[in-house]
Subunit: 657 residues, 3 copies
């Protein structure tokens, strides 16, 4: 476990460093992250590097027992760069070139920009690659900027040429004959700055993803060349940020960081944000930035409630985080983020939040040994693809069909059933999972679905959601009714409807319980006598009335359940609990109390020794009954079999002896 903060030594006199580092160490911190946004200090003029202060800062931190994560500063190009080579500034969809004075305002496809990025990254790696107290590296910061400049457009056109070979082939696969959009020259192809052709929009996102990946990889390569063994390379992503293919980015690094600014902790969907990042590499992640109190960019920048930071920290660990760093230690006197939460005030003294952070630090230290090497272990996976998300997000058909929110309608009841699903890319290997939930496998091809169906045939339980199997990998409609190749045993979507009003659903799944669908409803048909209709629609628009909404069919040794509607929590909970039971899964941990307010997370080591993290999200005391007593890692002693948690309380229990 690592615990720390982002520190900007370049913003402060060297004489202040000792005080800050001492206060960090006193709060139980073990790591500081530094370097991001320090470009103007690291390279004050083109090619002139000044790195000694950074080495000094790393040394000073080390003297207080703090290891360092060094970040390349390429999210903040210096003024000499944007003034000297204005073509590196990004251009927005309205055609306006960014001006200096912000961050992440460069065009990542710019060769000139990339050249300077590689330069500074290499200079830093040469100097600090062998430093024993540099734990690892971060490349850039929250990569996210898309640019619609002319040079990027030309690069995109060349990228398309590489992908499609001829414009004829592109025209065919995109059906550009629609609206007379056929291209006869690569130079004719526009950027998707308006309501774009779906295939163009998808291709653009793929190009952007590759641009981001190449930008990252260019730096990672030079850092890797100089890094000592053991130094890892990381990149950080924003919660549920869908602007590019995060899996491809993650493939270039050793560790993925999550920047996590939730406003408030929202159980039961909080674990999903961690699971989505943990799934990028299928290994533990770090929370590279987390809010200490308030943010500064929201309409109402409220604070975390007293005690909430502790729950956030343990929830993160419970869902796979091995590190957690507050952003930031102290605000610079000037600049756009003066009002962001920090641990240290403008006067250099700890703010009230510091005390709470220090408590987290103490607790992490107490549990670190038991947590070392443990991971979330689960039999359940959720499949979620960035490309599906872009395709649906751009053509929602119903304004409220948000793909992430749709995924969470499945995640939440799974989590409340005590499970900790992995969230994986659609092409992930599924060996070892017993239940797979795919909210919307929207863009499919035969090769991709074959492996999934093989897994079902071999005994897997698959729960599919609405808008599955609609399009091919070019974002073109498949020449079949949905779910296309996933329509096993005759499952077929006769028609789909964006709903104006909620529609009642009923059936054997619910018995006499009332529930409804909203936003989206598919009229299902099934052929084959083994199919069971679990839910049907009640009175609706005349078309749906009485038709199947959810069906289950056996397939090989397994089962496919297709849920064609956006169900309310009542119906979704019933559905999820049924497929969980059918998949032979028990509640994954032995601690849930049957309500939705006490969360139990479990991490398991290679030797099977596990750690339970119990979090009471309720404002009254709750208790959990365990089959055996476990040692309490935070307060010592044995917890007994009835573990009490005060309002908002956390208990961390080791493996029973």
């Amino acid at each position: 476990m690592h615990f720390g903060t982002s520190w900007y030594p370049e913003q402060w006199p060297v004489r202040r460093w000792e005080t800050d580092l001492r206060l960090m160490a006193e709060a139980g911190m073990t790591v500081v992250r530094l370097g991001d946004f320090a470009w103007s200090r690291l390279e004050p003029s083109p090619g002139h590097y000044e790195l000694q202060w950074l080495v000094d800062a790393v040394d000073a931190a080390a003297a207080h027992g703090l290891a360092c994560v060094v970040t390349t500063p390429t999210a903040g190009p210096p003024a000499w760069l944007t003034a000297g080579w204005p073509e590196v500034l990004a251009v927005d969809a309205q055609g306006r070139r960014a001006s200096h004075g912000n961050r992440t305002h460069a065009a990542l496809s710019s060769p000139r920009y990339r050249e300077f990025c590689v330069g500074i990254a290499e200079a830093m790696a040469r100097r600090l690659g062998d430093h024993p107290d540099v734990l690892g590296w971060q490349i850039d910061n929250e990569i996210n900027t898309v640019s619609f400049d002319d040079a990027t457009r030309a690069t995109f056109q060349q990228w398309l040429r590489g992908r499609y070979g001829t414009t004829e082939e592109l025209n065919r696969r995109w059906s550009t004959v629609f609206w007379s959009q056929e291209y006869t020259d690569w130079a004719q192809i526009p950027l998707p700055t308006g309501p774009a052709h779906p295939s163009l929009a998808l291709a653009w996102r793929r190009f952007v993803s590759e641009t981001f990946r190449d930008h990252l990889e260019a730096q990672a390569a030079v850092v890797r060349a100089h890094a000592r063994p053991g130094q890892w390379i990381s990149a950080n992503v924003m919660t549920w940020f869908g602007g590019f293919d995060q899996t491809a980015l993650a493939a270039q690094v050793d560790l993925v960081g999550l920047d996590y600014y939730p406003g408030h902790l929202d159980h039961p969907d909080a674990g999903g944000a961690h699971a989505a990042v943990r799934g990028l590499k299928r290994r533990n992640h770090w929370v590279m930035e987390v809010q200490p109190g308030s943010n500064c960019w929201a309409g109402v920048n409220h604070t975390l409630d007293r005690g909430e930071a502790r729950r956030i920290a343990w929830n993160a660990v419970g869902h796979g985080a091995d590190g957690l760093l507050y952003w930031q230690w102290r605000a610079a006197p000037g600049g756009q983020e003066q009002y962001h939460g920090t641990l240290i005030g403008a006067d250099g003294e700890p703010r009230p939040f510091y005390t709470e952070a220090a408590e987290v630090g103490r607790e992490f230290a107490a549990a670190a040994a038991a947590l070392a090497g443990t991971e979330v272990s689960t039999d359940v996976a959720i499949l979620s693809g960035d490309e599906d998300r872009w395709a649906i997000g751009n053509q929602r058909h119903h304004r409220d069909f948000d793909p992430v929110e749709h995924l969470l309608t499945f995640y939440r009841p799974l989590r409340l059933a005590g499970l900790q699903p992995d969230i994986l890319a659609p092409d992930a290997a599924l060996h070892g999972y017993r239940l797979v939930v795919a909210p919307s496998l929207h863009l499919v091809d035969d090769a991709g679905t074959a492996a999934l169906l093989d897994w079902v045939r071999a005994g897997g339980h698959l729960l599919l959601g609405a808008r599955t199997g609609v399009k091919d990998r070019e974002n073109a409609l498949l020449p079949s009714r949905p779910p296309g190749p996933l329509g096993v045993a005759g499952i077929r979507v006769a028609e789909f409807y964006a709903l104006e009003h909620p529609v009642p659903v009923s059936g054997p799944l619910l018995g006499a319980t009332e529930a409804s669908a909203s936003i989206w409803a598919e009229w299902l048909t099934v052929t084959g006598g083994d199919a069971r209709v679990l839910l049907r629609y009640g009175p609706a628009n005349g078309w749906l009335d009485g038709e199947p909404a959810v069906v289950a069919v056996p397939f090989g040794a397994g089962q496919v359940t297709y849920c064609g509607a956006w169900l309310d929590p009542v119906a979704m909970t019933a559905l999820v609990r049924q497929v969980v039971a059918q998949a032979g899964l028990a509640v994954a941990t032995d601690g849930a109390d049957g309500t939705d307010r006490v969360e139990v997370c479990r991490r398991v080591g290679p030797d099977g020794a596990d750690v339970l993290i119990l979090i009471n999200h309720d404002d009254r005391e709750r208790s959990v009954t365990l089959p055996v007593s476990r040692p309490d890692l935070l307060i010592g002693g044995d917890a007994g079999t009835v573990v009490t948690l005060p309002p908002g309380g956390v208990r961390v229990l080791g493996a029973a002896n």
Copy 2:
């Protein structure tokens, strides 16, 4: 009667055509529309036309008994055109030039663009002008794009010079001395890209209208030159689209098409959309596009309820449509409208909606003979001018004063009284009408009003609404209190008020019934003893309290009623019913049941034989009592005198024997 769909043969392999055309014929279709958006296939490179496939498609359709409407493809310029001559791309009010990859993105004032448009139109007409199965032509599609490019600005300035002769004259008629806006050179005159001078804004709309008209006429001329006798030329307009003078456009063509995407059918104002288009040429129109199920561009793209398409179809016929075509038959695999409703699914099989369409096809066929040559016949006209609509729409004074919504406050109670008013331009000849309703004759001159007043003098009944007689034809305030030259018998607007809150109205019109005005209230005064105050305001802002809101005065052999307030439905219904009775009008058809849920439409042939269309908009059974029994054209036999309609049902009855 014609029934059909939009078909895009260029999007599909020729081997598929047979299947599609057979399915169309089986649905009772008689016509397909094709060619729109096929430019890149019809002219793959500048001046190189490839028309054989289109001829083949027409022939293939003909082989299934389907006639064709051939559309010029100029709403979708090919990429070689916009790339080779970027000046043809429209520029928006923010100064951004459109990029390729959308539709209707060309500047219609561009001589270069118009040259290519005429080229392709002529090539198509040369090839298909003598084809026996080409029923008619459509020029372009939903013309609507305004461009603020520099060339258009120069053209506009020359247009102003032609209209005003000297800048002194323009300055005088526009009162440009306000805010020192006087022009001394034509080149100084800006485009109205911001909050513009009202006279400039009006002149711009006139210029845009002439530009659209000229663009259309240029194509219409070359098509007409090659069209065989009997081939008509049409243009299609969007429901209530107010961007230009539709009457001027309609004058260039033989037939006007309405593109009708109502979301849901909304009786009693549904007929107004048809009446407004029927009135453009005072003859029957076609519904050239109508939604089959759902749209794809709304926030929530809900479907039509089961049965609703049939009501939409018969409502359209009842209000003057002689053709109805679904847009579209089948979605291209790619492109921006993948999610739009169609009759055929992505798998090439009929969607559920197909069955309902086929029912409409059967019914149209059954009633076609009786409907042939019939038209809506009415004694009532509503006058509505595009220029008035622009002037009020740009200076609403109250944000909710939407001119179309204001018109509908008059239309709805007329329709509920069983009438089917025509909606005509303000300068339409009024011979034969007994009641004329003018919701807002806003821009007036003596010549224009003289004819209207002569018509009243000769016995006509005129109902005027608020904001009448305010400005001259330059959008300048008249040097008089409203309603200016329409202030007959001393009707005068002492003051007008945008209302913050509804204000009660009462008077002899309402007796003890409570009603109110909102949005707008005019304080009326009348001189002359014959005036009757029908409604007065209750407690309001202190100024209006107790003052007249609606007055009626005899004028010659007729009567003028002035309604100075935006009345609620209760008051407006009372007012409309009173003027209808005073005009000596009975309910125009012998079928209304006194409620607002059963609609009765009537069309009459030149020989007086009529057809009644009864539509039950209610969700329960309703019946209508007729004086004599009529033959039922859909199910055969005699309908009897008590005609029953199931929920959502339609009956079509021929002339009594």
Copy 3:
């Protein structure tokens, strides 16, 4: 007292002038304002002045006893100027250059524009500077336009160079090291067109303020050079307009005009708008424009209620206005403001509002002698700085923290306590005040706060509000907890919170009364035994619970009360009433009736003779009891000691004999 209207003689034939001027005189008017927006008539081509018509208009007015305020027309550059020198047109934050056809669309930093402005101003002053009937001058009109053009950017960069000397110094004071924003060349510095660095945003507003001031002063200088003794120079500002430093502008003129378009009169905060303008020069102001009925630019341009204009007029006088002019007399036939309220209709006849204006005219005349030389006299000041307002407004942290609304939470209860506070710049001399309220002295330095603390030490009572003492004069965080140098006797803000929900407050100030804080809450600490905690927070976010919200500490012979929360009216009223009492202030006038619906304003002459203005804002009769009877200046006779006011009534009482 002056009473009048804005008149645009250039818009009308000379033969009409007599009628208009006669109608003005009959309404009791004594002054007309003219010349604004007449530039195209005064200088029809570059350097060619035509001023005779303006002299004729002044003479014609004088013949009817109307004096003139001549306005330079520079808010409306003629078309020959913007066409000939397009660089004078302003560029908006999106980079779009304004086009002609609007107003205030020039870049005030343009030397070319300023040259033409000085030219026309000088020509007018040469001609009318010695005119006996020109009472005074107004320079430009509602100066407000900011331009982001390249020339302005270069001027701004030079301005920064003048202010900071070196980029190193600027970097240091702005902490540009944040996000690598350090500048090495002045030419790198951007304009704040996006979410800008706070120090850059502040510097830009200072630059804009100086630009506006210089633009004004350039004209004022040439006018002053030709003005006869007694002719004053004025500028007009919009209500609560915060775009620039109004105090600096006011320093260049003799009289400040307020343009007042309230929609409706909103007691008790109505007086604040006048106090803010009166405070700019600490002398009486004019209402240079006020709405006659309705405006034309709102979503709903409702009218003033009958009688409301009279209350607006007397409320203005009661709060320091010595003149009031309706905008405008009559609308030009054309132009963007055709629908704005006027006194004369499009037909040239008085509108209903004219009668009400004439009543105001009669009353002003009746009270003029008694009011001559009187001023509002008060012991209370509110300190409000434009720079504080910009800094907080740009970084609200809570979207509802509007600085003006925050000020009004203090103003309203002061006003309801019968006080008429001055609203002054933070550095105003405070001699003579007993209570000073500073809602948010946000940007502070030691020099500025020293004088304020000296004033407290000498016996003053100071009430400070939230967000005080946070930053330095560069908009950088002070290296201390707030309120920094104002933290006397140990008052310290331990932490501040943007509130999601209201939080209860309680304490000795309120006893058993319930009240709450919302939007903002500061957790206060105090050292020193003399501090009294007046209010504490109830259950909130866990941090604030039970902590001090409002504290009072003695300081020297005076007292500082710090209110760390945005209080609801209940708590704020209790707080204000307590500090008012502690400051030894009685209700300032002897007329308030203890409710909030009758307003009593008091003006006092140098000889101590006072005038009371009583305004009943209620819709029922109210009466006020006075200690002695006073003469009624409007209806004559003695008012008695129980003065009755009908609903909406006004009484104006002279000094008791």
